[in-house]
Structure formats: C-alpha cells, structure tokens
Symmetry: C2
Subunit: 368 residues, 2 copies
C-alpha cells in the first residue's frame, strides 16, 4: 500500500460484496425488484457486481451515467432527476440507439413538453411522475391535483409508466423505529399516488420507492414493485450515524500520506486535502472524515477539520510526539462522510487485493 | 445558451483575459517573475493565455498537473506541495523525460530522502524549502533551526534552489491596509529565510512568495524574485469579500436549469446540485454560490443554501409567484464561492462566445 501514489481512493471489495448481498437478499425477501442507483460508484465493475446479485436495471442521476452504462450493455435505465428541455435531445439519441430510458417529471408543463417532443420525433417517452412522500425536496404530493393534471399531459409522445419517490428525509433519522415508520410512510404515500392515478383510469404499473435507510428498514412493501438505493454499496459515516451500517461496513477510504507537521499547533499535514475528500457532514461533525491508520482502524485523538486543496490539516489531541508517532511518509486512511461526494473527487478506485498481490484499478467517470 | 445541456461550467474569456493582464502588469511593475498556479484551471487553453502575457513557468498542486502541462510543452514546473516518498519515482520519470521539476520540502528527514533518491538514480533534484510566514499551514519559520538543518541535507542527489512561502492567511483579511501588511510580512519573512541560508553559506537564488490577495496588495517586493498566484485567473466570491476583485470580475459560473418548485416552501429546484458546485464558504455565507439570471446579473431574494447530488434547492424570499417568475426550463447562473473547488467538479469549460456563434469547449482534467 505504501507504494501507491497518494491521495488514492481505496475500495474494499469484500465489504462492498457483503453490502450488495445484504441489500439484494433483503429485496428478495420483500418480494420487490431492485434497481440500484449507480450515482454512488459511477463504475462499471461495481455495477456488474450489483447486476450479478440480481439487480434489474439501474437508476442514474445524469444522462452521462445513462450513456456510459448503456454503452456497457445495460439497457433499462431510470433517469431519476426531473427532465428539462435542454436534455431531451440527448435522451432521444440514447433511446434511438436502443436504450429503454425512463424519464421523470413533476409538473404538467414539463409533461406536455415531453409528450410534444416524443410526438415530434416519432417516439413514445416512458415517464414516471415524482411523488413527494416526506417534504424533503421534489415531487407532487399524492393528494395534490397536480398529480392527475400531470398524468393527463402524458399522451401521444409520452406514456405514464408509474410513480416514484425518494424518502431523503430518512437521512435525518437514527432509530430503527423512526426509520421503519419513514419506510412505511414512503410506501403508503407512493402507493396512494398510484391508486389515485389508477382510480382516474390511468395505467400505473410501476411503484418505485427508495433510499438506503428506508430500503433497509421497511417491514413490508405491499403495493411497491421496485426499490432503489445507492450509497449502501459503499456506505459511509452518515449511514453509520443513521444506524444502517457499522464503521466496519464502509468499503471506501482515501489513502493519504503525512507530508509535514506544525508542532506549535499539534497539526499533522497530509497530502489529502479537500480535493480528495468530501465536505458533506453527517449529524456528528467528523470534519472531512474519520482518520484511520493504514489498516483502516480509527486513530483516537486525530481530528480532520481543516483542509486546503491538496493539504489536509489533522489536529492531534492525544499524547506523545507527533513527529515520532506520525513521521513524514506515514500512511493514513480517511473514511468518507458521504461516499457519493468523496468518490466523485476521484477518477479511479484502487481495489485492495483479497490475498495480496497486484491492486486492480477500476475506473470511474464524472461530468455530465 | 438555453441549448447547452445543464449543469455546465461557463467561462467568460474577456473577464479572464482582463484578470490575467491585471496580474501580469502588476508583476511587471513590481519587477518580479510570475509563475501562475494552474491548480485553479487545470486547463491548457487558460494556461496558454497566462504564458502569452508573460508568465515564466508554472506552479502545480499535483504531479498529474505537472505531467499534463509538461506534455503540452511547459518545461519549468514547481510542484508546490511537500513531496513524500511515494511520489519520488513519478517525479523521476518526468525529470528523465526532460522536465525541469522543482520539488518542495519542509523537514530534514524528507530532504535527506530526496537527496538519497537523486543519488540512487544519478540525478540532482532541485528543491525549494517551504517557509511559514503566517502560521497558516505548512513550512519552517525563518528563525527555526530546522531551516538550516533541512538545507544541510540537500546535497549529493539534491540541490537547494531557494525558498518559497504562501500567505494563505491573507484569505481571512478584507481591508487594503491589512492585505498590504500581510504582503509585507510574507516578503520580509521569506527574504529573511533566504538571508539566513545565504549567511550560512548556502546559495539561495530563488525567493518565491504569493497568494492572490498578497500579490495584488504588495507595495514593493525587494528581495523577492518570483510571485505565484492561482485563483486570480477566474476570481470568486471569496476574493470579492477579501476585496481584491469585484463581482463583475468573476469569470466562471455554473449554468443550471429550473426543474421544479415546492410552493409550500418557496423553493425553486434546479439541476445544479453539490456535484456541480463548491461547498467552500467565504466570510459571508453565500451557501453554494450567488444566484444570477442567465445574463449573470445577481437575482435579489434567491438564496442557495441546500443541495443534493444533482438537485439545487433555491430559497425564494422575494415577492410574486415562483412558477410564473422561474418556470421549469429557466436558466440561472451561479457564481462560485471558490473557483478552484467549483471548477474541479467539471470536466470542461463552455466558453461564452465574444460575438455570438459557436461555444468553444476547453477541457480540464482532474485526479492525481
């Protein structure tokens, strides 16, 4: 490991595989299809592991992801951000090449534009309506008249495929009871939206819910056909605080190296700055992440609250001489606050070999 | 502009050119060589503009930058992060291909390792000692015995080229007087370190100082041979708060599109989430940046304090109906808190054409 040029994003494949199996087994037990959100990894090898365990199709956050994964052979993709006009031609190109791309909408005006676009180009867009089940961010509430008004516009060049929701508010919870309640609320309200559409005469075959915390906390998913989740594949400190994983389940970390010391401040300077980390914070303030030794064991007394572009500034509050304990060249690993954000700072994963030997490199992509 | 797929990083070339000329003219007046820090842009076209105006060599924050810019023909590069053992072989490869690469060190132990590495491989590393002139982060204080102890190790496979400092503490100031004082402190202490080395018999030809605020605030630079600065090329909200640029000098912005609304919260949802922005904050809390209309004019009453990966959540505190005023499809531009951090989230710049017509695309790279 000490030969790897730092900073470097490490991936523990054994932990990742465990996380994938845990989620897929749960989905199998709950009797729902699973469509992982690949925005967390943006990596073909990771997604291949998810498909191999039984995932059906994927969820993406950008058309770039749709394009990359379609090129790699995945033909059923949900683009889970409400579409806008400037992206319709890109979507069309992918559909014309054979991708089964599902779009998302949350307003009658945009639904009408999608339908018009489909008609103009002689295709029928498959569209889901985003449902707001927790007031977290986007979507139409099940009892809002906009739900039926939006569905009414999906005709001609567009067809209603179903409803989807994301209970992002679950990230703010941290007890099994609260999480199970949120999962039930997500299910109930999304199913209610589907029922409302069906009662009005619309076909609404897909009912898609999900977030990592609710997917792992739902007790049953009656009426739901599909679950989506993303960050579970690596987990992170936020998920550990929510309580759906342990620190030992976190599958990625940033390897960095001690480059200097500031004795008057008890600072240890590393080559892992904000460029290699994530500023996303969980409920507890871990700063830029949890500092561990080269083996991934947390180092008590070593905080990481300050960073510049390529400098991490670690605060030592323990005993002893920092130059002796953490000499220049010392390897440290930082567990991410938010795996999606930390991963996004890197162009590849260095996969820790299971039994020594060479380190596989898995590429990841960015951009739009 | 409305045809650009969003989010997209826009670059105003006219503003950038003005910023480049302003800095280079100042350096010419002060009689020092200028070595821009290219970590801000990581873009060949941008750096070519800087070289064309008179820059001598460049400063980089990663060996990846050194590699990319050397490949493009730049042969004099300072790697301005203290080197560690795992990077020496990468440095060696570049040097063997003909790059004049200068390394940075701030401890006798690492200086000894660099010298040994040079000797083992039959080369002589050119090395600068990092000097701490403001207690901001790294380096050796001018009066610390470590300064001479570090220089003493630079023999055999390494040669002392000079001293360098970065007055990062200048980012916390915001009056011309305080900035001029900080620039003078940076100069005085870095020159003092050089003098101390010279008095002990070391050759110390280069005295390199710099940060955007001090470079633009120094009244004279006697004893300094070279200045470095990076963010001035684009400027950002932090620099505007420091007072060394105006909002109208900021040359990059993130174009995004309204994708929905949450009427009960007065939220406008866009497709510019944290993936496209920067979480770095200045003194005033601009959240994820300053929201402007499609022409780049700030929109009063529209705050940007909340974001998910691909969703920006804007808070409207003005009058009127948000759906009417900002319908789905509306273009908005967000000025960055920290240009280096926001730029890093993107793979290319869309250059605003001076007189209409096609939009040039300039690539930028990331990673290490």
């Amino acid at each position: 490991m000490q030969n790897l040029e730092t900073p470097a994003l490490l991936l523990d494949e054994r932990r990742m595989q465990h996380n994938i199996e845990r989620m897929q087994n749960r989905m199998n037990q709950l009797g729902v299809s699973f469509r992982p959100h690949v925005k967390t990894s943006k990596c073909l090898e990771v997604v291949r592991h998810q498909m191999a365990e039984g995932a059906h199709g994927i969820t993406v956050s950008t058309l770039k992801e749709a394009e990359e994964f379609f090129r790699a052979g995945i033909e059923d993709i949900l683009y889970a951000v409400a579409i806008v006009p400037n992206k319709l031609d890109h979507a069309l190109r992918l559909i014309r090449h054979g991708l089964r791309l599902t779009l998302l909408v949350e307003s009658p005006a945009m639904a009408a534009q999608i339908a018009r676009h489909g008609e103009q180009h002689g295709i029928c867009h498959e569209v889901m309506i985003e449902v707001d089940t927790d007031g977290h961010r986007s979507g139409i509430k099940p009892d809002d008249p906009l739900l039926l008004a939006t569905a009414a516009e999906l005709r001609g060049g567009a067809r209603l495929k179903g409803v989807m929701t994301h209970a992002g508010a679950s990230y703010d919870l941290n007890t099994p009871e609260a999480l199970a309640q949120m999962a039930e609320q997500e299910r109930l309200r999304c199913v209610a939206a589907a029922e409302k559409l069906r009662a009005a005469g619309y076909d609404c075959p897909v009912v898609s819910v999900g977030s990592t915390p609710t997917a792992l906390s739902a007790r049953h998913l009656d009426g739901v056909t599909e679950v989506r989740a993303g960050v579970y594949v690596f987990f992170d400190l936020v998920m550990a605080e929510v309580g759906v994983c342990g620190i030992d389940d976190i599958a990625i970390s940033v390897l960095c190296t001690v480059i200097g010391h500031r004795l008057d401040q008890n600072w240890i300077i590393t080559d892992g700055g904000w460029m290699a980390m994530s500023r996303d914070l969980g409920h507890q303030d871990h700063g830029y992440g949890l500092v561990c030794d080269a083996d991934g064991k947390p180092v008590a007394g070593l905080g990481f609250g300050k960073a510049n572009q390529e400098h991490g500034v670690l605060q030592w509050t323990g005993e002893g001489d920092i130059v002796e304990r953490f000499p220049v060249g010392t390897s440290l690993r930082v567990l991410p606050n938010h795996a999606c954000a930390t991963g996004a700072q890197h162009t590849r994963y260095h996969v820790i070999p299971r039994k020594g030997g060479a380190w596989p490199v898995w590429q990841r992509f960015g951009g739009w």
